[in-house]
């Protein structure tokens, strides 16, 4: 997914002279071809995220489209105020590409784990937040970022994720994608957790529990119509994300469900990273397992949610 994203930046820039790239201090050889072929639109500006955001803003105010890339925590936490004031207040066409959303950098510890990036960006007016599930979706998503008005954050996974999306479906920013139908429960998910959601739904299907899966690669603006449509058909709704349970997709969906005031109450559960800094190293997969972000844990949670007596729901 990560390589596809950068490959797409190169391809898009070849076709569109408005496109510039700014990196911080990325790995040697990153976008080498871009630098060789379009050196006047390629910048590597060092570990200075605040300046990079302002510089991108100045270029964007002059009509350019800027793709900025660095590690997700540094492009979100470090320069948050520049993002709010420079990018969002000026509503400029800058695209932030954050490497390692979620627990990707598990071995490097909590300084490198972007566990609240969606929450803080979701609160920013004019910001668009995207979290694709795999490389195929990234390939469909990137062309839509070129002419979109205003700033965009693209959350990258680790790379090499299994492909689970369908390239016959055109990608549109702001649109949710139903990936599986089911009458008993609904899993709403985003990013690389789509695979886990689909695996859990398959496990549940073996037990004759039919679970719908709604994939939301755009977390902001949120496709509330799709959430209401799919949530309206089931009694239990579960959200699944590689992100803090505070403020991310789960919170966004909860807000929609709460304000929908369904005549029949819904059972609802957020699955994500609890309100903590991860306390182990290991791998993305081992931390996912620690926080119950596995198909098996989702399967169990759906079953528990469906078995909650109606009285305790009301």
């Amino acid at each position: 997914m990560r390589q596809t994203c950068l490959d797409m930046v190169y391809e898009l820039a070849k076709r569109d002279e408005r496109i510039f790239f700014i990196g911080s201090d990325l790995g040697i050889g990153t976008l080498k071809q871009f630098q060789a072929e379009m050196p006047d639109r390629f910048f590597m500006e060092g570990v200075s995220e605040a300046n990079i955001i302002g510089m991108a803003t100045g270029l964007a105010l002059e009509g350019k489209i800027i793709y900025v890339n660095t590690i997700a925590v540094f492009i979100t936490r470090r320069c948050f105020e520049q993002i709010a004031v420079d990018l969002c207040l000026h509503n400029v066409n800058v695209r932030l590409i954050g490497n390692g959303g979620g627990l990707v950098y598990a071995p490097l510890g909590p300084t490198h784990e972007a566990i609240e990036d969606i929450a803080i960006f979701r609160a920013l007016p004019r910001m668009t937040v995207l979290a694709p599930a795999d490389a195929l979706e990234m390939r469909r998503l990137m062309p839509t970022t070129v002419d979109h008005r205003g700033p965009i954050y693209v959350r990258l996974g680790k790379g090499g994720e299994p492909v689970v999306t369908d390239d016959r479906v055109p990608f549109e920013i702001g649109m949710a994608f139903p990936m599986r139908v089911g009458r008993d429960a609904l899993i709403v998910t985003t990013g690389v957790m789509l695979k886990t959601a689909l695996d859990a739904a398959a496990l549940l299907a073996e037990k004759d529990i039919q679970v719908a899966v709604l994939h939301m690669p755009t977390i902001k603006p949120l496709d509330t119509d799709a959430i209401l449509e799919y949530a309206g058909c089931v009694t239990a709704i579960l959200t699944l994300e590689e992100h803090s349970v505070i403020g991310g997709l789960g919170s966004a969906v909860a807000e929609v469900i709460a304000e929908a005031n369904f005549s029949v109450p819904k059972r609802f559960k957020r699955m994500g990273i609890p309100d903590c800094f991860p306390d182990q190293y290991g791998s993305q997969a081992s931390l996912m397992a620690r926080y119950g972000l596995t198909a098996k844990a989702v399967e169990l949670t759906v079953e528990q949610l469906l078995s909650v007596p109606q009285s305790s729901v009301v």
Partner: protein, 278 residues
């Protein structure tokens, strides 16, 4: 008043006093404003807008215009009176400063105020945005220049120095920084709060070609600006020695006037009297 700082010997001419009188009237209308900061930066902006910048008030987005960012956005009273004076918007707007039906807020906003190139107010943003403007000029082969006015207090911000490194790395000779160095920030003197000295040396060490001027002396400002770029491969920095509150004795170097709320009618009268245009 801080007695440790020297007063500026420069006498203000009729236009400088007239512009300050407009600021006082805005202060009176709104009941608030960063008056000390505006008086400090008045001549820097005046020389830029009167004699240096190319612009067209009838077409504020004219592509060939020079770009000027007031990165110390709180000094906006000085900018607003000049923009009105040049015809970017009617004088009526001045009297609606900070009012719900006005376009002029306590910090300048891009897209709302004609002639404002970037929303500032949060310090340490303007130079980076100016770098983007200057890089665009180079890419497009455009001849416009970029001027960024920063404050000394603003120079506490790390982002300013990130930007300074970047500007010199790219040899942005079309970029000029003017530092309003009045040696006072909100809480006290810059030397007490967070010492910047040796200030000019710092700019030079960060790759700028520098000059120092009396920031209220029109001739010195003219001469320095006319000489920019000071070096063909470096951005320029003009350290402008100024006096916070310059022009009114009881406001000068008096931190109670850095930002003033609810000035009395008597204070307003006294300010106008001292700035009498004869």
């Amino acid at each position: 008043m801080s007695d440790s700082l020297p007063a500026s010997p420069t006498l203000l001419d009729r236009r400088s006093r007239g512009l300050r009188r407009q600021i006082v009237r805005m202060l009176h209308a709104a009941g608030r404003g960063h008056v000390g900061s505006a008086f400090s930066v008045m001549e820097i902006l005046r020389v830029l807008y009167d004699d240096v910048l190319r612009y067209n008030p009838q077409d504020p987005r004219w592509p060939q215009r020079d770009r000027c960012i007031l990165s110390k956005g709180h000094g906006c009273l000085a900018l607003y009176v000049l923009l009105a004076d040049k015809g970017f918007f009617p004088d009526d707007e001045l009297w609606k400063f900070c009012k719900s039906d006005g376009i002029l807020g306590g910090h300048p906003e891009y897209g709302r105020v004609p002639g404002v190139e970037a929303s500032t107010g949060s310090l340490g943003h303007g130079l980076s945005i100016g770098i983007g403007f200057a890089l665009n000029a180079r890419y497009e082969g455009a001849e416009y220049r970029t001027f960024v006015v920063v404050s000394d207090g603003e120079s506490n911000e790390g982002s300013l120095w990130e930007a300074a490194l970047c500007a010199s790395k790219h040899k942005l000779s079309s970029l000029t920084v003017l530092v309003d160095y009045n040696k006072q920030q909100s809480y006290g003197t810059t030397c007490e709060v967070l010492d910047l000295e040796p200030f000019e040396d710092k700019w030079r060490a960060f790759g700028f070609a520098t000059e120092e001027v009396d920031g209220h002396d029109l001739k010195q400002l003219h001469v320095a600006l006319a000489r920019t770029p000071f070096h063909p491969d470096k951005p320029s920095a003009i350290i402008c020695h100024t006096v916070k509150g310059k022009g009114v004795t009881f406001v000068e170097r008096n931190l109670h006037w850095h930002h003033k709320n609810n000035p009395t009618d008597e204070e307003i009268r006294a300010m106008l009297a001292e700035l009498e245009v004869t």
